[in-house]
Symmetry: C2
Subunit: 314 residues, 2 copies
């Protein structure tokens, strides 16, 4: 048995446009780093450093990465082991970039690796989703699956879980805009509560059609069609955008500046634009200046769609 492993898992954009709960993409950065080893002393140990470390549960039974790792031990018959884990958070929590998904994916992957890889992809994903569940209240897979496997992951079935990985977008930039808002512990849970309970039939048809654009665009590597899909969320975005200052001004400006598509990342408040290589910096600068003019501090960051999910690091 390997004694210790160091892994890294990426930030992700879930709820990609009209694909609420069923599609997410891995970003090249930021990343969480985990150092994990297994003990036989019956005592789990957890240390957390990095961005937002103070907001994350240090209780092994409530921490996403630990819960995910423990789920792997249980599924693989390794209950006798204890987990010693050090987390260095790179993905900021509560901004809509899949922070708990990254930690869950990394925790599950690391423990599976230390056991000699007994679990297959679906099993590993299920364990990682256990970690996501303690953090977010819902065991959704659209952050944790791309954090594990990289690229763009489509969840074809929830129960049993069945996924496919689509090729990453290689010839575009993703600019993420994050307004600095006061966000409480229950962010993801509340972000679900504000969603409409019922959707008009025609809105559903429009949503399915946007999703068709997204998937066909991804399959045909057609950035304009991907963008039409991303921008066409008629259900989730109208509800969640109410909590983001100037959302529709930002969207309009991004598209006016040539972005292929614009939407909320995950449960927000971060937003993202898919845009031509070399244009993300200007789009980011412009959008945060609109937010600043409206009295909201914000920052932006540049990304690409990463082909890698969890990786082993030296």
């Amino acid at each position: 048995m390997v004694s210790k492993v160091r892994v890294s898992a990426p930030a992700t954009i879930a709820n990609l446009g009209p694909g609420f709960d069923i599609i997410g993409m891995a970003l090249n950065n930021p990343r969480d780093f985990l150092e994990v080893c297994l003990g036989e002393d019956g005592r789990d140990e957890l240390e957390i450093q990095g961005i937002g470390a103070n907001t994350i549960s240090k209780d092994p039974k409530r921490n996403s990465a630990m819960v995910a790792g423990r789920a792997v031990l249980e599924k693989a018959g390794g209950e006798k082991f204890s987990i010693k884990m050090r987390i260095v958070k790179g993905v900021p929590p509560r901004i809509g970039l899949g922070s708990s998904g990254a930690s869950s994916a990394a925790g599950a992957y690391a423990v599976n690796y230390l056991l000699g890889m007994p679990l297959n992809m679906e099993e590993l994903l299920q364990c990682a989703m256990e970690g996501e569940k303690v953090a977010c209240g819902s065991p959704h897979a659209d952050n944790v699956a791309p954090a594990l496997f990289g690229g763009i992951v489509l969840i074809l079935s929830f129960n049993p879980i069945r996924i496919i990985r689509l090729e990453p977008i290689t010839n575009a930039e993703i600019v993420v805009i994050t307004p600095k808002l006061e966000i409480g512990d229950e962010k993801t849970k509340i972000a679900r509560k504000i969603l409409p309970k019922n959707i008009p039939l025609q809105t559903m048809v429009n949503q399915v059609q946007s999703f068709a654009n997204l998937i066909i665009g991804l399959v045909r590597k057609d950035l304009s069609t991907i963008g039409i899909g991303i921008s066409g969320d008629f259900v989730i975005e109208p509800a969640r955008s109410k909590f983001i200052p100037k959302f529709y001004d930002l969207k309009e400006k991004a598209l006016e500046l040539g972005a292929y598509g614009f939407s909320i990342s995950g449960a927000g408040p971060s937003m993202f634009a898919l845009c031509k290589e070399g244009t993300g910096d200007y789009i980011g600068k412009t959008l945060i200046s609109i937010l600043k003019d409206a009295g909201t501090e914000a920052n932006y960051s540049l990304h690409t769609n990463s082909k890698d999910g969890v990786i082993i690091v030296p």
Copy 2:
């Protein structure tokens, strides 16, 4: 200018599984046949023969094929011409196989051909949709687009109309089961009225996910995944199946007999199963015997997904 043309357009399955209003497939048979020429005497002429001819409007202003042809003349600047048309109906009206869509597609195509093909694909489709509108009350494109272009057509945008044609399914049979029910003139309009006005959020997510299976299956030529998509309509099928005797027994039996997927064709009452080559005949026989035992006469027919839409015939 060519003086006369004879064209043929196929039956189609619209509302393919979860793709209400946005995806349809062309069948290899049955087909409508149209003989069309243009006159300069200011007098439209229309003759209809074949299956269900007595149920179809002979008023040039109300007949789908004539309205579609007239729309082409108007769009192409050929208003001075009159249309002389003979329709031989092969696609039975009112059973959910896109009868008016076939006639509309054929009418639009024939007139465009006689004018020397002035309209492009999208323009032609728009004209054909005018014909569909007079027959069905709604200008939906998911019958008329595959009837025009063949294969499987996905409607990526309604306004402006934007479509893509997916490769046809080449290695499976489609068995269509048609119960003999009393159906009035307003069938398609009523079939829309019985649909739910609002859909629960989770149902919408499930519908988008089924649609993801359908598209990914089609793109990857994976019949099982296509079938999961087709069978997973959580919105339209539950409403329309109430008017089809034994619908869920038929669906269960078809899947038990190995069909990849089963759903309602268009607005019904025909149903279809996508199944392994060589198994459609047995599935069809079995399903109509279930209907007969329940007191409903029915017939079945075997098809493939046609690569051809409208074709010129000698």
